[in-house]
Structures are given as structure tokens and as C-alpha cells.
């Protein structure tokens, strides 16, 4: 159960991060320009013009994102884009059309449209304002497929962020011949930060991993699953202690047959690790099932993908084995210290 909780929660947070990466990658964003500290959540839109004048900058897309409750049981990410934003490259319309700037129009990701049972031509009330659903799109990641996108100006009104944006997404011009991509990225970051003091230019991949929502998801997942893991370790320790207790005579036999205490310790530790591994495999099955369920629940479908990254599986199995080994230390130590004669006499 503990490993299931770990796999489910950490898998959730990682799929969330993965979706962010996918989103940046799909749109072709190279750099996100964001406030320097987490204390500020927005930047002045006036920086847009300065950014556009920089020689390394190809295109700039000002944007706002926020997590919104769209109905009693449907939450979704809401984006504010300009109608000409290059972010549209990340999505493809499957019904209707793009929205227009200055209009109370929205487009819905297919998952969200399905959850809300809305189609192009319908209206949707968001935080007291009515919006026309002008299109439904297919998004390359769960974050887009489950999102609502509206004109930046409408989003600014809705969020009381007039004149401000959450970030500028920047597409760089191609790197000059002979300059490495890493060097070009570093130079571009420095150039942007010099032009816009107080802001940070963060490579898109890094931004996908350390934006506040992803960090919060990671922290929650690790915090909760650490508690579950601790309970799991205590469970395995108890099982192993019982096993050593019940097999006292068996351990005595092994010692009588020439097994040294180190080998007995190793045997018990291998069993504990195997128990951890079995728990890990069950946990993966349970966790992936939980993720699948979450990916279909209206409350979470818009931010969770049922896909399960291989590194998470490997990480979960490694942690499960480590938990087993940790849990096995005390029982193994006790088993290894048993006197062979006392153990043989044990009933």
C-alpha cells in the first residue's frame, strides 16, 4: 500500500512535470521569462517590447496561467494567450476556430470539453463571466488537453492582472554557426536578464521542472509518500521480525551447518529486499491503477496523464528494495546474533 501510494503520488507529480515539458516542447518555447523570486507571481507586460528588440529573440508570447475551478467538480488549468501567439503550435483545432483578442471567447481542450460536456457554440460561465466556446482543440500534453485557453486580455481581467502576465515565452533565433547551443542559451539568458532587470530567463526544460505548480506537486507527493513509506518500512520490519522469530530454529540449523552470522544476515536482508521488491511491484500495479482512475476522474483528468514514465518505475522499485533493506536491518542483526544452541532448542 505504501509503495502504491508512493507510485501513485510521485507518478502523478512526475506526469505533471512531464506534461509541462511536453507543452513547452510542442510550442517551441526555448526560454520562459519569469519573476526573479517566487514572491512575485507576475511581471509587467511592458517588458514585451524590450524583449522583441533583443537580437537573440525570435518570437515572444506573453501568457498567463492559473488553476481554476470551472464547476463544482471540474478544475482545470486556464491559459491566457494572445491570438497571434506561437503557443498555438502546440495544439490543433478539432472543432470550431481560434479565439479573437478582446472577445469573451474561449477554446477548450478535448478532455475538458468532454468533462464539461461543452461543444463549439456553447457558452461557459467562468467566475461569473460568460464566455463563448468557439473551438475545441487537441493538445499534445495532458495540461493542454485538459485546459481552457482564452485571450490574454480576458484572462487579465478575470485574474485582476491588467497589464501583467505570468511569463513571457521566448523562441530564440537560431544559434549562429559555430556557437554551441549551450553557449547560445547561456548568452541569450544573460542578454534577456540584462535587458529586463528583476526577471529571470529560464530554459524551458528547467522551467517545466521548477515552476510553482510542479514544485508544489512534487513536494506534496514526496511528503505524503514519505509518510506512507515509513509506515511501509515499519510493516516490513514487523513481518521480518516475525519471520526471524518463527524461524529461530531454522537459523540455528543453518548455523550448525556452517553458515556464519554474516551469511545469515545476508539471507534475511535478501528476504527483506525481496519483500520490498514484491511490495514495489504490487505498489506499481496499484499506483498505476490509481493513476488510470485519476486520469478519468473529472476533478483530475485535466492535469493527470495515465502514462507512467519508466524512470519512475525504476525509482519506485529502487526505493522499495531500499525500504526492504532498511526494514530488514534489525531483524537480520537479531537473527545473525542468535546462539546456534539456543536457536536449535527453540520451540
Amino acid at each position: 500500500m505504501a509503495m502504491g501510494a508512493f507510485v501513485g503520488l510521485v507518478g502523478f507529480s512526475h506526469s505533471f512535470e512531464l506534461a509541462w515539458r511536453q507543452m513547452y516542447s510542442n510550442s517551441g518555447t526555448d526560454i520562459a521569462v519569469v519573476p526573479q523570486t517566487f514572491l512575485n507571481t507576475s511581471v509587467n507586460q511592458s517588458g514585451l517590447d524590450k524583449l522583441r528588440t533583443l537580437p537573440v529573440v525570435g518570437e515572444v508570447a506573453p501568457m498567463i496561467f492559473s488553476f481554476m475551478a470551472l464547476s463544482a467538480d471540474v478544475n482545470a488549468l486556464a491559459y491566457g494567450w494572445t491570438a497571434d501567439s506561437f503557443e498555438f503550435n502546440a495544439i490543433s483545432m478539432i472543432a470550431g476556430r481560434h479565439f479573437r483578442d478582446g472577445q469573451p471567447e474561449i477554446i477548450l481542450g478535448e478532455l475538458l470539453a468532454d468533462s464539461l460536456k461543452k461543444h463549439a457554440g456553447d457558452t461557459l460561465e467562468i467566475q461569473g463571466s460568460n464566455f463563448n466556446v468557439v473551438g475545441v482543440f487537441h493538445g499534445g500534453s495532458a495540461l493542454e488537453a485538459g485546459a481552457v485557453i482564452m485571450p490574454l486580455d480576458q484572462m487579465q481581467k478575470l485574474s485582476s492582472l491588467e497589464g501583467k502576465v505570468t511569463a513571457f515565452h521566448v523562441r530564440l533565433k537560431p544559434a549562429p554557426i559555430g556557437e554551441s547551443s549551450d553557449h547560445y542559451m547561456a548568452r541569450s539568458q544573460a542578454s534577456i536578464e540584462a535587458a529586463l532587470p528583476g526577471l529571470r530567463a529560464v530554459p524551458a526544460v528547467e522551467r517545466a521542472s521548477n515552476n510553482q505548480l510542479v514544485l508544489l506537486a512534487h513536494a506534496t507527493a514526496w511528503g505524503t509518500s514519505s509518510i506512507a513509506l515509513l509506515i511501509g518500512i515499519l510493516g516490513i520490519a514487523n513481518t521480518m521480525a516475525m519471520s526471524v522469530f518463527e524461524r529461530t530454529r531454522e537459523i540455528g540449523v543453518l548455523r550448525a551447518l556452517g553458515w556464519n552470522s554474516r551469511r545469515v544476515l545476508l539471507l534475511i536482508q535478501i528476504e527483506a529486499a525481496a519483500l520490498g521488491l514484491a511490495g514495489g511491484l504490487l505498489g506499481i500495479a496499484f499506483g498505476s491503477l490509481a493513476l488510470r482512475v485519476l486520469a478519468h476522474l473529472p476533478q483530475t483528468a485535466n492535469v493527470v496523464s495515465a502514462s507512467f514514465p519508466i524512470p519512475i518505475l525504476a525509482e519506485a522499485l529502487a526505493i522499495a528494495i531500499l525500504a526492504g533493506l532498511l526494514a530488514g536491518i534489525v531483524p537480520a542483526w537479531r537473527g545473525a546474533r542468535l546462539s546456534p544452541v539456543e536457536a536449535l532448542r527453540y520451540d
Binding site: 548455523r255 551447518l257 556452517g258 553458515w259 536449535l344
Partner: protein, 220 residues
Amino acid sequence: MTNPQLELRAVTKHYDDGRVEALRGVDLSVCAGEFVTISGPSGSGKSTILHLMGGLATPTTGTVLFQNALLGAASDTDTYRSQHVGFIFQAFHLLPTLSAIENVQVPMMAAKGADRNAERAETLLRGVGMENRLHHFPNELSAGERQRVAIARALANSPSILLADEPTGNLDTENSARIMKILTGIQMERGMTLIVVTHENDIADSAPRHIRIRDGRIES
């Protein structure tokens, strides 16, 4: 007498912080290739002697020597048990989750450089007439068969000493005779030292050397 293979010198063994005196100054020498039986009433200390000779326990006072070297100090008792000693118990003590052939392989895992293959285990089981029960689990075997597997297991690392603690204690007359025949046959054939603790007079008297023990002291 030739050089003793195993020797107990002025050995005492106390349990429960000295409240139980299992052995009270025992001197005993056993030569290589000897067949010795030890008998005595319950609690007389006969099993304790076997445990000390097998390196399973250490004396409270006195010394135990194997080939004139102090056991438990100069030599590693785990290595001593895995290389030089084979144990046979009254309750067989086979591992219930392992088949007969796997049980025989268990001591092989403890011996350095030991040949742990199944072929050798099979040969040993054939030697005790268990060729048709190789893959049977202990709960599928009769008491006599279990003890024969235990004998094969005791021989796994080709020890020079066989220590048997009441090996026929859980067997009927027919199986007791068969087990003793196997043990003495192995002792003769391999020239091993065989020390059998028993409370059965006919078995005790069948050995060339019979040691009687009472109240932690050797009587004769």
C-alpha cells in the same frame, strides 16, 4: 594412544548465569576415525559435549581442541563446522521449504570453494538409498527417510567428523537399525570420526568405545 583429533580438557559448561552446571570438569579425547557413543540420563550433559565438540557452544572454563588447536579462538568455528563437522539431529531439522536435494546443498553454500552442484547432492542421497526421493519435500518423507536425507546433508562438505545427537530418537526399531547401519557403514568406508549421543543401550554398546556420563561428569 595416537594424537587426538578432538579433545576436551577440564571443560565446564554453565547455563543460566551458573544456576545450571551442564558439565563439571570433563576430560575427553577422541582420535580420528574412532566410533564413540555417549550415553547418560536426560540432562546429564551428553548433548552439551556434542555442541562443544561441534563448535556450536564454547566452554565456561577449560578448552576444546581440534587437531591440537584451540577451537573457538585460533580457528573460526563457522569454518570448522562447515569444513570438518557434519551434524545429525534427533528432530532431523530439514528445511521444510526445500526438497531433499536442496537440503543437501544447503551446507555446500557455506563452504569456501565447495562443489555445490546438484550432482554431488544426488550422489550423496543415492548413497543413503534416497535416489527415488530427490525432489520430495520433508513433509512428503517418512521419519526414516528424513533422517537419511539429514545424513546425506551432514556429508555434504566431506567432513572428517560426524556428530549425531540421538539420531534414532524419533525412529522405530527397524529404521533405527537402518540408520545406525548407514552411519557405521559411512564411518568404516570413509574412516570418519563418528560420535553418537544416545540413550538406547544397544546402540551405545554397539560402538567400540562407549562413554557414560552422569551429572556432567564422565563415569566410564
